[in-house]
């Protein structure tokens, strides 16, 4: 049995991670800026990155549904397996929910999302201030949930690598593998 994720899964995982690391602080930063062309540009970039995450998330989940991930070590206690799987499923859900809530929020606020300034995404809902504010709250809440889950996700991966000396992290970073 293979003990690592496929190249495709590894590539998608790190691409999505990288884009989230860019979009998350960008979102926090741009939100409090006074209105300026700079702010409008940053909002567009943030939305373009978000939609890219959405597209990659679709690919990642389609791949995940058709390719089993490598098994967890047999030595792992049941509660840890449960925790690992729960966090993974929630992360999968959020990498969809966050871009989609942002997309819908843009439509509700009357600012259509045009991917890279070229491809207009349909407005699935009309202009609606209250709904826009609600989606704003949801987008924010999802992001803080993501932050919490990411801390658990990264923390657990590091604990496995540094404290338990197993190959859990190497499933996603192949060159870290210790055993042949």
């Amino acid at each position: 049995m293979d003990t690592r994720y496929t190249h495709t899964a590894v590539t998608l995982h790190w691409l999505i991670a990288l884009l989230i690391f860019a979009a998350f602080p960008l979102g926090l930063y741009m939100h409090d800026l006074p209105l300026s062309p700079h702010k409008l540009r940053l909002y567009s970039y943030h939305k373009w990155i978000g939609i890219t995450v959405f597209v990659l998330a679709v690919m990642r989940l389609s791949w995940r549904a058709t390719h089993r991930p490598p098994p967890l070590p047999a030595s792992m206690p049941a509660w840890e397996r449960f925790a690992a799987e729960s966090v993974h499923y929630l992360l999968y859900a959020l990498i969809f929910a966050i871009p989609v809530s942002g997309w819908l929020m843009s439509s509700a606020k009357g600012m259509q999302t045009v991917w890279f300034g070229v491809l207009p995404l349909p407005d699935l809902i009309g202009k609606d201030k209250e709904l826009g504010d609600l989606l704003h709250e949801a987008h924010e809440a999802f992001n803080f949930a993501l932050l919490g889950l990411l801390l658990a996700h990264v923390g657990a991966a590091l604990k496995h690598h540094i404290i338990q000396h197993d190959d859990i992290l190497a499933r996603m970073i192949p060159f870290l593998r210790r055993k042949p």
């Binding site: 062309p37 409008l40 009357g110």
Partner: protein
């Protein structure tokens, strides 16, 4: 003798008046616009405006219009932007609260299309403008609907950092929809 002479004249005037539409129905009318921000079309509107329009649908070329728009009534769909665009770099609505259009001529373009030529004044600057529109009559109401492209920088709307047209395009499509009754 004199009465006999005046009577047909009076009748004529009354008939002429009856053919003219001149009372705006503000609830059914609108002045809106579409700007482009980072290539994305964004809708907005002006909630307060007056329109003194006199139009005889049989003789549109004789029509006249004077439109006044309360710039402070702008709704961009975003509170922060509403506060920004009345400021000095945009409309400077404190100093120039009103934008006005006064027609000088109406020309028939054929197939029910007309062009209203006139002077558009915004932010203390007056430029010649032409707006194409259509006329639609439904017994006691006439609808004039049309649009024109405004080049915002020609009026210094959005100066300084905002003069960068890559973020906010120079061209703004202004659309109007006026419903006018006889009385």
């Amino acid at each position: 003798m004199r009465t006999l002479f005046i009577l047909p004249l009076l009748l004529l005037t009354t008939l002429a008046d009856a053919a003219e539409f001149k009372v705006l129905r503000p609830q059914q009318s609108s002045v809106s616009f579409i700007s482009r921000q980072m290539g994305v079309p964004v809708d907005g509107e002006f909630r307060k405006f007056t329109a003194d329009i006199v139009l005889d649908p049989a003789k549109p070329e004789k029509g006249k219009a004077r439109i006044n728009i309360d710039l402070g009534s702008i709704d961009t769909g975003n509170q922060e932007a509403n506060e920004e665009v009345v400021g000095k770099t945009w409309f400077d609505a404190k100093t120039y609260p009103t934008a006005s259009f006064v027609s000088t001529a109406v020309k028939a373009l054929g197939q029910g299309h007309y062009a209203a030529q006139g002077k558009l004044t915004i932010k203390g600057k007056t430029l010649d403008t032409q707006a194409d529109f259509t006329i639609e009559q439904k017994t006691d109401l006439v609808t004039l609907a049309g649009s024109f492209t405004l080049k915002r920088l020609a009026y210094d709307i959005g100066s300084g950092i905002w003069s960068d047209t890559d973020t906010v395009a120079d061209e703004v499509l202004v659309r109007f929809h006026f419903v006018v009754a006889r009385q």
